[in-house]
């Protein structure tokens, strides 16, 4: 796994340096570009005057010590920036993932039990929307309807702009607000989560519900399902206790991929909802050709992806007794 990350870092480093565009605009500002003294000083300060290879060696050496360099834009260590913004993204992603999986499994079960009936068609339509609606568009639409028009839900951001963020313990506002016993703040943060988590989780619903439906239908043709019916089990028991357990096995694997999907989705969703997470940081970084930040975000994404894969392998082994015991 460290090798993989090393590879990712190298590729992103080289690609970013080969992209046309000049980060100096960000560093010194457009006006100063004509001032050779300032430009030279900036180049020396950020190491941009050295060859790409030297820069690369330098970067990799620092990376080994957990140093991802300093952001051109925020002038803070990238590690610090990421650490600051990660909880916001994690909170959003986890709610989206869990909500998406729960709704997705429920929809998948309903669709399989009533296949080719009305419920199935509705579920298919809902899933299709989730996986094909651009997050950007869906986000703006939901904001327009539920915030601007109906006023049922708050606008962008993690909490009311006049509110004060809870003291940082976990960095999850929904958790930290409870930890300090502030229920109003808890409610506020939950309300703020609903729309972005819906936008982000909808895609998960799409993937998971289709997969659960398909694998449940596969399971329905299995002998043990017929045995269950022949023994007089209720259809509900046959589905929930027998078939679903098996159908969820492939879902565990897919959830890891869903997570990658979520990370990209988070970039768009965070932008629409002004969510101060890693996604919006990534957008800023690439807009400003902020090399260290770009690589940092990519590495974080790669790590997250590898970790979820590892986690899903473990979860799979745990859920399937045939693997667990061998």
């Amino acid at each position: 796994m460290p090798f993989l990350l090393f590879g990712i870092a190298s590729i992103v480093f080289l690609v970013s340096r080969l992209t046309p565009g000049d980060p100096l605009v960000t560093i010194v500002g457009e006006r100063n570009l004509n001032n050779p003294e300032i430009v030279a000083a900036a180049k020396a300060r950020w190491g941009l005057d050295q060859s790409v290879l030297t820069q690369y060696g330098h970067y990799m050496k620092n990376l080994l010590h957990g140093d991802m360099g300093t952001s051109f834009t925020t002038r803070e260590p990238v590690v610090h920036d990421l650490w600051l913004r990660l909880p916001a993204t994690l909170e959003l992603t986890i709610y989206a993932l869990f909500g998406g999986v729960i709704v997705g499994v429920t929809l998948g079960v309903l669709a399989a039990r009533h296949r080719n009936k009305f419920i199935d068609h509705i579920a298919r339509f809902f899933a299709l929307m989730g996986s094909s609606l651009p997050a950007f568009w869906a986000g703006l639409l939901l904001l327009y309807v539920f915030y601007a028009r109906l006023g049922w839900l708050p606008g962008p951001g993690r909490i009311d702009p006049r509110g004060v963020a809870p003291d940082k313990v976990t960095g999850f506002y929904t958790v930290d607000s409870l930890l300090q016993g502030d229920f109003a703040l808890f409610k506020d943060s939950v309300m703020h989560l609903i729309l972005p988590a819906t936008v982000l989780g909808w895609g998960v619903v799409g993937i998971v519900s289709r997969l659960v439906r398909a694998s449940l239908l596969d399971e329905f043709s299995m002998d043990y399902v017929r045995v269950g019916r022949a023994m007089g089990l209720r259809e509900r028991t046959v589905v929930n206790q027998h078939a679903l357990r098996n159908a969820l096995l492939p879902t565990i694997t897919i959830v890891a991929f869903t997570f990658a999907f979520l990370l990209t989705g988070a970039v768009l969703t965070e932008t629409v909802f002004s969510w101060p997470g890693v996604g919006s940081y990534a957008v800023d970084a690439s807009r400003n050709l902020d090399y260290p930040a770009i690589i940092g975000v990519t590495l974080l994404g790669g790590t997250a992806f590898l970790l979820t894969n590892l986690f899903s392998d473990i979860a799979y082994a745990f859920a399937d007794p045939r693997i667990r015991l061998s």
């Binding site: 269950g228 023994m231 007089g232 357990r245 096995l249 045939r322």
Partner: protein
């Protein structure tokens, strides 16, 4: 005469298929008395499994007509709750492949508990567990108290079939339908499973419907035999008579397929040709195209079951008294 526990009358099952309606079962009459053992034999595809699945209403996609009565309850067209109250509780079923009949991700104790709870919801977890251990004892599974927490893949095929049998008798049914319960097992294990079924039948006064395409299995374990071909019963006899003097040419052909101790033959002979496709049945007797004794008249009308000595036979030649003639 006693009333049958299970009684099929003119049971018909048709599957809609792209090639047209497949008439897999075409009018079966069968009575099963309390505690008796009936065998249903026939080649693969003759409609044995479909008949039994239809009996319990387990073929949602098929068109089923005729009558299936469990005591006084009509099962054809019955609602889900009626069917559920019979399935596993009054009439139970053991399937062919113990490898796939159990859920791979649940312990056998859990699966048995689900079956018990389906009909005895008042049972506690503890009750289910001790009952399950007891049942595993009854089907001669060693170390039952430990095995109950095993997953299916940890057991051998024979053990799994024992578990299946334990499950099928968990709610004290009156009728046990065993659909080729030994086909998927080693020969040595086959005999043990058949013996177990016989023991349970006697101990629990179970009526046993044994489905098989192996007449050898039938010899020691059934009172009466029904021979099926192309969705119909073509001969019905007491076991002894079928073996001593089979009437229908198809029964005779089946018997000739049995490996015999006195002949030491390596290759078991089989009946030439294949059974007809249920979506495209020939007119007249469906066995005629393969029948060594067929007369031109056989392809005209399909024969019905007619009493002949101790048997009932559906054969134009036999019932027409032309048998001797045809043989000559």
């Amino acid at each position: 005469m006693a009333e049958p526990v299970l009684s099929l009358r003119d049971l018909r099952v048709t599957f809609p298929t792209p090639a047209g309606p497949a008439r897999a079962v075409r009018g079966i009459d069968l009575d099963v008395m309390a505690g008796e053992s009936v065998a249903v034999v026939g080649e693969s595809g003759s409609g044995k499994s479909v008949t039994m699945l239809a009996t319990l209403g387990l073929l949602p996609k098929a068109e089923v007509s005729g009558s299936v009565r469990y005591n006084d309850t009509e099962l054809v067209g019955a609602d889900v709750d009626t069917l559920r109250s019979v399935r596993g509780r009054r009439i139970s079923m053991v399937f062919q492949d113990p490898m796939t009949s159990l859920n791979p991700v649940l312990t056998i104790g859990k699966q048995m508990a689900l079956v018990m709870k389906a009909h005895q919801p008042e049972l506690s977890k503890k009750d289910c567990r001790s009952k399950a251990v007891d049942l595993l004892h009854q089907v001669a599974i060693p170390q039952a108290a430990r095995r109950i927490d095993a997953y299916p893949h940890e057991l051998s095929g024979g053990m799994r079939q024992r578990v299946m049998i334990a499950m099928s008798i968990a709610n004290d049914p009156e009728v046990l339908i065993a659909d080729e319960p030994t086909t998927a097992l080693d020969v040595t294990v086959q005999a043990q499973i058949m013996e177990l079924l016989q023991t349970l039948r006697v101990e629990k006064n179970l009526a046993l419907v044994l489905i098989t395409h192996d007449l050898g299995v039938v010899a020691g374990s059934a009172d009466r035999v029904a021979v099926m071909y192309a969705g119909r019963i073509v001969e019905r006899s007491p076991v002894r008579d079928l073996f001593a003097d089979p009437q229908h040419p198809y029964s005779r052909a089946l018997l000739e397929c049995l490996p015999r101790l006195d002949q030491k033959q390596e290759v078991v002979s089989s009946i030439g040709g294949t059974p007809p496709n249920p979506a495209d049945l020939p007119t007249g007797c469906p066995f005629a195209p393969r029948c060594p004794m067929a007369l031109p008249s056989c392809t005209q009308a399909e024969p019905t079951l007619v009493r002949f000595r101790t048997s009932e036979v559906a054969c134009n030649i036999v019932s027409g008294g032309d048998r001797a003639e045809a043989q000559a």
